[in-house]
Amino acid sequence: MMNKHWTNIKSAVSRNVLFAVITAVLLLSGNALANAAYAFDLDKIVRAYTLENGLRVLVAERHFSPTVSLYIRYKVGAVDETNEQTGAAHLLEHMLFKGTKTIGAIDWRREQPLLEKIRVIIKAIDGETMKGDAADKGKVEDLHRELTLLQEEARSLFRENEIDRLYTENGGLDMNAYTSYDQTTYFVSLPSNKIELWARIESDRMVNPVFRDFYSERNVVIEERKQTVDSNPGRQLMEQFLAAAFMVHPYRRPILGWESGIRYLDIDYLRHFFTAYHSPDNTIIAVAGNVDPDEVMQIIRKYFGSIPKQGTSARFIPEEPKQSGEKRIEFVSDANPELIIGYHKPTLPSYDDYVFDVINTILSKGRTSRLHKLLIEKKQIASRIDTTNGFPGARYPNLFVFFATPRHPHTNDEIERAVYEEIARLQHNPVPETEIKKAKNQLKADFLRSLDSNRGLAGMLSYYEAIAGDCRYISNHLDVIDKVTADDIIRVANEYLNADNRTVARLERRNNTSSTLHLSE
């Protein structure tokens, strides 16, 4: 069905461009959204192109306002690091905001040798401090002094935060980047006449980034960890949960890295990681907004077309062995109890992943969802219950996860029992048709709402192009969802949601700490 909607369009300007576009195709099945109430024809607004260097570009044209959202997704994430360099992908993302040889540089020829000296000193400091108690403290102090002087000199040769300055000054909104297990994403929204600025910056940082201020940025990431993990018992529990649920697959490691590891992240490894994976043939661009696709492509070809591809090679990512037996983790803290339960399952595009999308909605989306009704309204034992399908990533087989917080004086035990009762119901009793229909309606409406902004649209197109290899996954998704039956749900619930395939992580309050509030006043 989908292939008949593929149409090749020759680029009108290819003769002017050294690396001409190969194809431009119209995307997305027109009758994908069967139900007329949800009808929205992405066909009309999305075009896809592949440059000769492998760079994949999706352009969605819409005209409400003169703005545009721009996404770059590199198909490389935390899973691609080595164990010893856990956190490298994320630190690299930070480093890519430090400018390039031509952005931020005042005198590159003088700066370059200084940065080389700084690199050598940082490696020497790391090499010494890594010895722990045996480290030569005097030597480390000397090296630090030298580093400080060199950094001061280097700072006089570049303008800090030029990438941010350029975007902000030109009206950029929400400029940011994030690293996930599966991919690394850079995005910004701009007035729609400023696309060339984006192309100038992004093409340059795909080739010529300069890792300035590496030493202090590594410390920033340690602060990031203290803020988002060490001061947050829920996040600490999550780390423990993932480390238990995955024995060998890199989904077990924290994206930020462990604190001791962040301290020694290696600038040379970051350079290698950058060169190996930040190549046009490993990259998706999505542009959504008030743009003319031909004009956008002319700019993209001009700036990105001559970047050579690296021929990103396949990496070995260890496969998670089948779990056979429950795993349990207890994390003790002076915080209130929390609970995470996860089950291994296949990722997209497996049909069972679609079935889990429906199960996810039935269990926890909306006030009439099963777990909300049972745990929060009927039994009144939880203050929060949520489920997620596809955690913590989607490139590899992942988890279906329950998150809950008990309501005092109720316990994690009670929640666990209630969740298992609800799972048993899914395993043994067919979900009524109206309930399945409700879940499908919700999935379709959520999809529509996610398209309501340029950013939402560009984000989704680039995400599924990177993860599923084809952004048509988005609209086909709803077609497949429509086919899910009560029998599918019973089968999938029995196959995956069983005790042997389960990891449970519980945050329990330390015995000698009292609840923070006095309930009897």
């Binding site: 902000t168 000054e169 006030r367 929060i376």
Partner: protein, 480 residues
């Protein structure tokens, strides 16, 4: 009944000939030539119903969705003493506790089946009630939405459920240092003013169904409601839809005035203990409100000092140069008559005093030396060029216009905005910095474990310890 809104055109950066550029990828990014951005944002239609409800409507037919948002003048600052938390809870139970026509459960079932959303959110000084439905569900969606606004039933069972959940949330507040810090900071800044009161286990426990009914009667009447409708509808259909559901509503009332906070605080240093590896530091000051001519200069000052991203002074110094924080910056929340400014950073316990000193010196520097021409140019261009995003969706445009009227701001507030920003000078910024960045009026708040700090907090002034019990029940009398 209709009022026309002046149409204006935005032309941003008027260079031309992008097409003529030489294809050189090393072009200086500051010299890229952009085509002009001609833009005449669509204008919402304004309609006033005979009963006083004001409606803003803007069509947008791209997606088959209808979005409706009502705002009402009410909020937690009107909560009676001893019933703190009433507005927030009543808002939630308006949504969940049924209406004269339907039980709460029936409403949940109908909304979930049509994949529609209704939410009620009541903050310090505004209630926001929203509806999002597929176009085909406009009628049943609006029926539920209007009944929730006009005839909520506040079922006892649902009220009790929400009270229990709110109490659980209070129990857990100390598990989230950031929320805990900003809650205490706000409490200290506003002092005895009603805006500073905090809900507690006992105040939430004391709230009854009658309180909710009285709250609703006091604040929900046509002249206190404004509604924005956007999406896949026509203006005529939208007016008819609102008329069918709201025209018969005939009530009136008065909104009480809440005294303004004391904006001339004596400076103070406040400390709340929690054994954490990282401290949260906030320095707060009162700032101009939206009615104040200094509002524009202060907005630009705040941008340069800490809210303008990587290039702003706080971020650039504390994060970028010193590597002492991941989150650092400033915020400026202007209300109508006054505003609140805060400079903040989160840093490891061992560098708490160092970072506090840097924050203070950044504010002092803005006051003593001022900002540079380069900084001002950057801030102005950033704010002016970003302005187009205020008009990036029908909902934003419609709400923007609605809120101007809601806040009694002049009609030309938006049209003159860019001009006012553009005409500011470095001496304007120096003047507002000198007026508002007064050291002896600064409220310093630090959360963390002082034993691990690099210097005692008393270095910065007499320290008032926010006692844990007081913080928990929110009845601290130690405010300045």
């Amino acid at each position: 009944m209709k009022r026309s809104i002046p149409v204006f055109t935005m032309v941003i950066i008027c260079f031309f000939t992008m097409m003529g550029c030489r294809p050189s990828v090393t072009i200086d990014p500051d010299t890229i030539a952009y085509r002009p951005l001609d833009f005449s944002p669509q204008q919402p239609e304004r309609v006033e119903l005979p009963n006083g409800i004001i409606i803003y409507i803007l069509e947008d037919h791209e997606l088959p969705l209808l979005n409706v948002t009502a705002v009402a003048r009410t909020g937690s600052m009107y909560d009676p003493v001893g019933k703190e938390g009433l507005a927030e809870l009543a808002g939630i139970v308006m949504r969940t506790g049924g209406t004269a026509a339907m039980t709460g459960d029936a409403i949940d079932a109908e909304l979930d089946f049509m994949a529609g959303n209704v939410s009620v959110k009541i903050e310090k000084d505004t209630a926001t009630i929203s509806l999002s439905v597929l176009k085909g569900d406009s009628e049943p969606g609006m029926k539920i939405f209007s009944d929730i606004l006009m005839h909520p039933a506040f079922e006892e069972k649902k009220l009790q459920e929400k009270k229990d959940l709110k109490i659980e949330m209070l129990r857990r507040i100390y598990d989230n240092p950031r929320n805990m810090a900003f809650r205490e900071f706000s409490h200290i800044m506003y002092g005895d003013n009603p805006r500073g009161r905090l809900s507690t286990v006992s105040s939430v426990g004391a709230i009854t169904r009658d309180d909710c009914v009285m709250f609703h009667n006091q604040f929900f009447f046509p002249r206190n409601i404004m509604i924005s409708i956007t999406g896949d509808t026509t203006t005529e259909d939208a007016i008819a839809l609102i008329n069918r559901h709201f025209a018969a509503w005939r009530l009136s009332g008065d909104i009480p005035r809440v005294p303004l906070p004391n904006v001339n605080l004596k400076g103070s240093v406040n400390f709340l203990f929690k054994d954490l590896p990282q401290s949260i530091i906030i320095m707060g000051l009162f700032a101009p409100g939206k009615y104040d001519p200094d509002h524009y200069a202060f907005e630009v000052l705040d941008f340069i000092v800490g809210s303008g991203g990587f290039r702003s002074r706080i971020f650039g110094t504390i994060r970028n140069r010193l590597g002492l924080a991941y989150s650092a910056g400033s915020f400026y929340s202007p209300r109508n008559e006054f505003g609140v400014f805060g400079a903040y950073a989160m840093t490891k316990a061992e560098t708490t005093a160092q970072v506090l000193s840097v924050l203070r010196s950044i504010l002092d520097d803005a006051k003593d030396v001022g900002v540079t021409d380069e900084e001002l140019f950057w801030a102005k261009r950033s704010i002016i060029n970003n302005f187009v995003f205020s008009f990036s969706s029908a909902e934003k445009i419609s709400m923007q216009q609605l809120l101007l009227e809601y806040h009694d701001l002049p009609q030309d507030f938006l049209t003159s905005y860019r001009y006012r920003i553009d005409s500011l000078t470095t001496s304007d910024l120096l003047r507002v910095a000198q007026t508002y960045f007064t050291v002896d009026e600064t409220t310093v708040f630090v959360l963390g474990n002082e034993e691990k700090f690099d210097m005692p907090l008393s270095t910065f002034g007499m320290v008032t310890e926010v006692r844990r019990d007081d913080a928990e029940v929110g009845n601290s009398n130690e405010n300045p």
